[in-house]
């Protein structure tokens, strides 16, 4: 079995956490070749060569591959697909955009958000917002699979695979990039942070959200939010945790002023330790919390910051 792992490359840099976790899953399917694609990709390819489990790294650098536009990126992967039994990527928004396109072009059914690899043809994936886990066996000649990274450990960085430069496929030129709006932050990345502090509608305003952020900074944590908090403008969209946001599984998840709707739980219930602070003792979040504190967050959070010194 030969696996092509489509690495997560953002602005020329390898997203180590996402790619190395997908590597752990990919290794269970066969020998892994890593593909780094982008307007700049050689630095990412050099990084990817260290992934334990990589037998080879392919580096495709071309202006058309910048900004991870779906059409040229899918065309590149399809041009390589003949050599592989599996095409795998971490389930980031980039891969969710590209992989189904690749699968349809190969007349295969995509298998998204895989949380377990049973064997090279058989995969587990959560459905219904994580309320059920389905085991599916693919009958397709080529398996196109995205990996829910929160359920896999990172592969080690002790590898030394050779890097080979390849060219881009023809660009269908159907779309162009206009702009990115990205918040620069010194905080750890939400999906790889050891601690995540999240705020919900209970926080009440964008100004009050500062309270959540300062607690996060005290703990060296990433900041998350419920959909209600994002919809209300308290927090940016890329902080949303849940069924339709990011899926996180940190060592510690602190949910503050979040009721615990099933769609939110879908994104955090695999966290090792969950703390909930909510003034409503009936809030469903307490059903998944290891430690629950009933109380007003405007009283509890400042105290918590103080207690942490």
């Amino acid at each position: 079995m030969a696996v092509l792992l489509f690495a997560e490359v953002t602005n020329g840099e390898l997203a180590w956490d996402a790619t190395s976790k997908a590597m752990t899953a990919a290794k269970m399917m066969g020998d892994v070749t890593v593909l780094c694609a982008g307007a700049q990709a050689s630095a990412a390819a050099a990084e990817a060569a260290k992934l334990e489990g990589a037998t080879k790294v392919l580096c495709a650098e071309d202006a058309s591959l910048g900004h991870r536009l779906a059409e040229p990126t899918a065309a590149l992967i399809v041009s390589l697909a003949g050599d592989y039994s599996h095409i795998v990527a971490p389930a980031t928004t980039d891969a969710k955009n590209v992989l189904p396109r690749v699968a349809a072009l190969l007349d295969a059914m995509v298998i998204t958000d895989v949380s377990g690899v049973v064997d090279a043809d058989t995969f587990e994936r959560p459905i219904y917002a994580g309320n059920a886990i389905q085991t599916v066996k693919s009958k397709d000649a080529v398996k196109v699979v995205s990996i829910r990274t929160s359920t896999f450990d990172a592969a080690a960085d002790t590898g030394s695979a050779p890097v080979e430069t390849i060219s881009a496929a023809d660009n269908p030129a159907l779309s162009e990039w206009v702009e990115d709006k990205v918040q620069e932050t010194d905080r750890p990345e939400l999906t790889s942070a050891k601690i995540v502090v999240s705020g919900g509608r209970g926080v009440g305003s964008e100004e009050n959200f500062e309270l959540i952020e300062s607690l996060a900074d005290k703990l060296g944590a990433a900041v998350g939010a419920s959909r209600a908090a994002v919809d209300s403008g308290y927090a940016p969209n890329d902080w949303q945790v849940g069924q339709t946001g990011k899926v996180v599984a940190p060592d510690l998840y602190v949910a503050i002023g979040i009721s615990g709707a099933i769609q939110h739980l879908a994104g955090m219930k695999d966290s090792k330790v969950i703390v909930a602070i909510n003034k409503d003792e009936e809030a469903p979040i307490f059903q998944v919390a290891d430690y629950g504190l009933v109380g007003d967050l405007f009283d509890a959070v400042p105290k918590l910051k103080e207690a942490l010194g």
Binding site: A70, D107, D113, K137, V273
Partner: protein
Amino acid sequence: MKVLVPVKRVIDYNVKVRVKADGTGVDLANVKMSMNPFDEIAVEQAIRMKEAGTVEEIVAVSIGVKQAQETLRTALAMGADRAILVVASEDVNTDIEPLAVAKILKAVVDEEAPGLVICGKQAIDNDMNATGQMLSALLGWSQATFASEVAVEGDSAIVTREVDGGLQTIKVKMPAIISVDLRLNEPRYASLPNIMKAKKKPMDEKTPADYGVDVTPRLEILSTVEPATRAAGVMVGSVEELVTKLKDEAGVI
């Protein structure tokens, strides 16, 4: 311009999902079904474009069991002009995978020649997040997924997308597929007079065979089980107690 909006009938998002004890799937008998929430947003987007004068006709399509006509009536009551129901299964528990759905939608697009297809980014039952991208591939069209803002300029659409790092804006050539995210708009409720009017709007009924599409699944579902449940936690009485537990018992800070 004509717009095609695929809408899916799914278990209502408020319903607590129950996995069948024999592991064959989720209990869908006698539970409340609704339009996939993302598809309501897609319908709303099409209606707003019609109200703004960029769109002349909105065609809603659903692929599934006969009861999906209720979902289509909802789309018509919101403001779609006509509907196509593709009855692909008699049994509410039969699978129609995104690849097969995309193939049927491609055939519908070939017949209807819309300038835009607006679909949901994911269906909340199977959470595949695949159909729009697959349709776009089969048509050789551009795709703009996870849209939180859409503007049409000449023969292009300017779409802002919700991505991991924040927001990305791209310009896609039309015809295009747009898959919508939650924050694009707030869908309207259908008014009673519009619900009455929707009953008279045309709804065609087709089968996959009419489009020459084989809907045999590529994925064999071996089992569907409940996820592992978390062990019950404890309530703490104070912030001090919480901090002590996190330090000494859980060892996470």
